[in-house]
């Protein structure tokens, strides 16, 4: 079992990968992958989900659905570092014929469950998968039955489709489904709170009937505890609203909408890696 400190170090390794991928490709998204890196460290390295990189299609695996597809560098990094494919393949991000396209494509590389990018779509697909898993594994205990973890972003919940998905998930009592909402308060052109999905997000989710847990998403212990508790919820889907810092870990990127999808310079890369405590090679 890895300690919170170990997981925090892994999260910074993922952050370093994200920056390298975006720098090498000359494109891609930074702030969200950085704000959610602690989550991905917990999911893939914190004994949180059931998976086997050698058997990506293992029927009883937990499914991780990245609905906010532009976060994909951090997913690709987590998949590579947990053994789905070689870490060296991360260099091919966004390149012609790469298995790691600019937004996720289902099964383009092992471990990529769902095509996503147009916001809101993955939420519905995750609900469909959870519905199907209930049909297939209704006979298994809650502990044994596979779950679906669906990562969504706070900009994404401006899309009505997400709320359609919530409605249906609640109606179907999908307690094998955990949404994780990255509330990093930035989106491509603004602070999310200054547009239309700020305010009491947790309250709105609760009103829709989801089991809501609000945590600091950059505190490994707190987030891990929130996820473990959400697994125990019975009779409704759970959502973890994680308050995070956009661009977390690199001071000059933190809380700045411009870093949503900005490519760092070489100078900025060096300084970012120093802050993250990760080797830049």
């Amino acid at each position: 079992m890895k300690s919170a400190l170990d997981l925090a170090k892994i999260a910074n390794l993922l952050r370093g990968d994200v920056l390298k991928m975006v720098y090498t490709a000359g494109a891609g998204h930074v702030a969200g992958p950085l704000s959610s890196a602690d989550l991905f460290a917990i999911l893939f390295f914190g004994d949180m989900i059931k998976f086997d990189p050698q058997k990506p299609q293992w029927e009883e695996r937990d499914r991780v659905v990245l609905s906010c597809g532009h976060y994909c560098p951090v997913l690709y990094s987590a998949l590579a570092r947990s053994g789905y494919f070689e870490i060296g393949e991360l260099k091919t991000f966004m390149q012609l014929d790469s298995r790691l396209p600019g937004h996720p494509e289902r099964e383009s590389a092992p471990g990529i469950e769902v095509s996503s990018g147009p916001l809101g779509q993955g939420a519905s697909v995750a609900v469909g998968m959870a519905t199907a898993l209930k049909m297939k594994y209704g006979h298994l205990s809650k502990k044994e039955a596979p779950r679906v973890y669906c990562v969504i972003s706070d900009g994404e919940i401006q899309e009505g489709q997400v709320w359609e998905a919530f409605n249906f998930a609640v109606k179907r009592q999908l307690d094998n489904l955990i949404f994780i909402l990255d509330k990093n308060n930035i989106q491509i052109e603004n602070y999310t709170s200054q547009l239309v999905s700020g305010g009491d997000v947790a309250g709105r989710l609760e009103a829709f009937g989801l089991h809501v847990t609000q945590v600091d998403g950059n505190q490994i212990d707190k987030l891990k505890e929130g996820l473990e508790k959400s697994k125990l919820v019975v009779g409704s889907p759970a959502v973890i609203v994680m308050d995070t810092v956009a661009g977390k870990g690199v001071s000059f990127m933190e809380n700045k909408p411009m870093w949503h999808d900005k490519v760092p310079t070489l100078q900025q890369m060096k300084s970012a890696f120093e802050e993250l405590g990760v080797m830049y090679d």
């Binding site: 494509e105 289902r106 099964e107 469950e113 769902v114 095509s115 996503s116 990018g117 147009p118 809101g120 779509q121 993955g122 939420a123 519905s124 697909v125 995750a126 609900v127 469909g128 998968m129 959870a130 519905t131 199907a132 898993l133 049909m135 297939k136 009505g160 489709q161 359609e164 998905a165 409605n167 249906f168 109606k171």
Partner: protein, 329 residues
């Protein structure tokens, strides 16, 4: 499979096809799903609060555990269907064509087609034939919207019998399929037989003119062809129910023989079945084409037959249009 070569063209029709009993294509689709549900336990049917009018309600009654009504939420319906398909089931998602693929086209594009998810989409009340509810509810762009999507198969059955067979063919095919159905009771004139995706069905042979039709226009095309025969014009009538993939060989063989093509469909001329024929012929065998369909306008409220007269899809308008064009050319 028996080849057309050894069968008279009319082998695909029931003997009394001219006076065939009427049955809505959507009803055939619904019955096909119930039959399929008895044979396969991996079928899931979804709707967005339109189970009765799309006629998938029959499936819901037979297999309530395999039926999901997502409420009025077509975007979510397609995403849920994609997720269910990802887990190995074969979902059929039914709504009105104007909402699905109309409202949820981007969900179909990414969650279904980009993922090559094994989702079948049933678009009912297609065309202005849906009548009374008016243009907002008449799906007249759905063929264009679906056939442009990579990985998507597009099927437009000509009657209830063909719809029943098409639903089974869609089940047996691995990948996204769009099935178009219509509201009014229309002649159920084709012989019950298995449906082959990618195959056109020739129902009448002729040397002067090829009529390519789909949906409920196929029966009209046959009736028009009989009238034209009296006037000395021999039409070959092809049911292009598989719009994508299209039966290049049968269509090209016919067109090379006749040298002229008329297309008939209850859909916008832009992007529809006629456009698919035009794309094929422009590349392989440039041919004069007359497109009969909805010509860049919306439909209107009214009874099916009245609306057809108004937009020129009633049989006498079709007949006149074909004759005028044939003689003018």
């Amino acid at each position: 499979m028996t080849s057309d070569k050894y069968l008279p063209a009319q082998a695909g029709l029931i003997p009394e096809w001219r006076t065939a009993e009427k049955k809505a294509i959507r009803v055939g689709m619904g019955e096909g799903l119930v039959e399929l549900g008895a044979k396969h336990d991996d079928i899931v049917v979804l709707t967005a609060d339109l189970g009765e009018s799309t006629k998938v309600r029959a499936f819901a009654e037979a297999y309530p555990d395999k039926f999901l009504d997502v409420g009025v939420a077509e975007q979510n319906m397609i995403g849920v269907a994609a997720g269910i398909a990802n887990e190995g089931f074969v979902p059929f998602a039914a709504s009105y064509a104007t909402f699905s693929p109309g409202r949820n086209w981007e969900q179909i594009r990414v969650s279904v087609c980009l993922s090559n998810a094994n989702v079948k989409i049933i678009g009912s009340h297609a065309g202005v034939s849906s009548g009374l509810n008016g243009p907002s509810h008449q799906g007249t762009e759905d063929i264009a919207m679906t056939r442009v999507l990579p990985n998507m198969v597009v099927i437009v059955p000509a009657d209830a019998n063909q719809a029943m067979a098409a639903v089974e063919a869609a089940y047996n095919y691995k990948g996204p399929v769009y099935l178009r159905t219509t509201r009014p009771d229309t002649p159920n004139f084709t012989k019950p037989m298995s449906f082959e995706i990618g195959r056109a069905y020739i129902y009448r042979e002729g040397k002067d003119l090829t009529i390519c039709a789909c949906g409920i226009q196929v029966w009209d095309a046959l009736m028009v062809a009989e009238q034209l025969a009296i006037k000395g014009i021999q039409c070959e009538v092809i049911n292009v129910s598989s719009i994508k993939p299209i039966d290049k060989q049968r269509i090209l063989t016919s067109v090379k023989k006749t040298g002229k093509v008329v297309t008939m469909e209850d859909h916008q001329i832009m992007g529809g079945m006629g456009s698919a024929i035009a794309e094929l012929l422009a590349e392989e065998n440039p041919t004069q084409i007359k497109f009969l369909g909805i010509r860049d306008r919306f439909g209107l409220s009214g009874k099916f037959e009245e609306v057809y007269q108004k937009v020129g899809l009633d049989r006498s308008s079709l007949e006149k249009a074909v004759i005028d064009w044939f003689h003018y050319e």
